[in-house]
Every structure is written in structure tokens, then in C-alpha cells.
């Protein structure tokens, strides 16, 4: 039984190593992807896209475009009836858009 367990541990070790390599390469690819000029120019959604999502159709939708490292804070206001979102940026102004209905 010990021999079988040791053999399986060897297989799992190889599987984990392969996963680590794939995670690393995928993270790198994603980072490069977001840095390509073309992707930056074409990486957008339209208001229609947001309205096409069924769970957002009959909702008020606010879109927030914030600089990197902007802090989003939600205090736990259990039972107080007012729910808050606090946004604080240190790298530039935050843009907030109200998605139009149509």
C-alpha cells in the first residue's frame, strides 16, 4: 500500500508542476494581452452590451472606471437601512457613468 501511495504521490507531483507552469504561462499571456495597443483600443463593452445581460436589464447600472489601486470600501451597516460604497483613488480621478436605459 505504501508503494502504491508513493507512486501516486509522484504522479500528483508531476500534475501539480504542470499546473504551475500552465498558470504561470497563462498569467503572462493575459498580462501581455492587456498591454497590446490593439487590445487596449478594442477592449471595451457598449452600453447595449451591458443592457443585453438579462440580469441587468431592469436594473439601475452604474459603471465605474477607476485608476489602478483604487480602494473600494463597503462598511457593514447591518440593519441600519443605508448601504454605502466608498471609493478612494490616489492615482487619478475616478469616472462614474450611469448606463442609459435604452
Amino acid at each position: 500500500k505504501a508503494f502504491a501511495l508513493r507512486k501516486e504521490l509522484g504522479d500528483l507531483e508531476r500534475a501539480e508542476k504542470s499546473l504551475d507552469e500552465l498558470i504561470h504561462s497563462s498569467t503572462t499571456q493575459l498580462k501581455q494581452l492587456t498591454e497590446y495597443k490593439d487590445s487596449q483600443r478594442l477592449g471595451y463593452v457598449t452600453y447595449q452590451d451591458i443592457r443585453s445581460v438579462s440580469t441587468l436589464r431592469d436594473q439601475t447600472v452604474i459603471a465605474v472606471k477607476a485608476p489602478a489601486e483604487t480602494k473600494l470600501e463597503v462598511p457593514d451597516t447591518a440593519g441600519q437601512g443605508s448601504l454605502q460604497i466608498y471609493l478612494k483613488s490616489k492615482n487619478g480621478p475616478i469616472e462614474v457613468y450611469l448606463c442609459p436605459e435604452e
Binding site: L30, T34, V64, A66, P67, A68, E69, T70, K71, L72, E73, V74, P75, D76, T77, A78, G79, Q80, G81, S82, L83, Q84, L87, S89, N91
Partner: protein, 47 residues
């Protein structure tokens, strides 16, 4: 008061990073509506 903090503004963060916040907001809202139902609306605190 406890609070939840998330850093935004970066591409492709961890998945479901707002799940806990959404759950907390949902339960806060429910507990408030329950107190309303019980008729004793708590004094609203203003920031």
C-alpha cells in the same frame, strides 16, 4: 463597524472577489427590512 475592502482598477483580478461583499449587502438589506417589518425603525445614522 467592520468593512470590506477591494482594490479595483486592475485588469482581470481574482474571480468572485465581490461575492462576499454582495452576500454581506444582501444580508444587511434583509435584516433591515425585517426590523422595518417589526415596526421599530432604528434611528438612521448620518455620516
Amino acid at each position: 463597524r467592520s468593512r470590506m475592502l477591494v482594490s479595483i482598477g486592475e485588469s482581470f483580478g481574482l474571480s468572485n472577489r465581490f461575492q462576499k461583499i454582495n452576500q454581506m449587502v444582501n444580508s444587511s438589506d434583509r435584516s433591515f427590512k425585517r426590523t422595518l417589518d417589526l415596526g421599530s425603525a432604528p434611528k438612521q445614522k448620518r455620516l
